[in-house]
Symmetry: C2
Amino acid sequence: MTMIPPNGNLFARLPHAAPQHAAPQEDITELLTTPDVRIERIVSTGQASPSGFWYDQDESEWVVLLTGGAGLRFESETEVRELKPGDYLHIPAHARHRVEWTHPSEPTVWLAVHVR
Amino acid sequence: MTMIPPNGNLFARLPHAAPQHAAPQEDITELLTTPDVRIERIVSTGQASPSGFWYDQDESEWVVLLTGGAGLRFESETEVRELKPGDYLHIPAHARHRVEWTHPSEPTVWLAVHVR
């Protein structure tokens, strides 16, 4: 008989957003890892990518923002994409991008699916 | 230069829940398909699995319920799992399961990641 793992909840145990005392790092929880896929919950509490930093990933990433808000900038684009709850996009491998800002007072919950 | 696809929104263009005139089928939108992964938005508006029907899938499925609610039953378990927004679980391949009910009046939005 197959054992089915218990349920989890994406909005449980959120770190608190505290603008004056922002955590230096986003909070990342690995939810599923297979040889081809990694699903993560990422919680941002006001963090942004360091000045001049660009993510340049070997894997493609499908990501949805579920709460809060964020500004996502691609190097190949001039405008910052403003993401609100429910907004998703597919980031091709090596599409250089950075997080310009995340919501200063609400936790920003992302669900990211990294695909090899 | 890599073209980045435009954003979409998971909560856009939801079918209306209409208990008296329920759509016969759930509404399924394919969001990403690669050789190893298929990401879908599924919107239930009161549907349940037909009596006596069990899903028995060759792929494993990671699924999260984002709005509405549902009762999920595994053949290997006696209790129905009641899912509320944010609840996620990993359904191993061939873990026979069925949807006992979905919310009668609010759309139930699921995000499903099928992994080969």
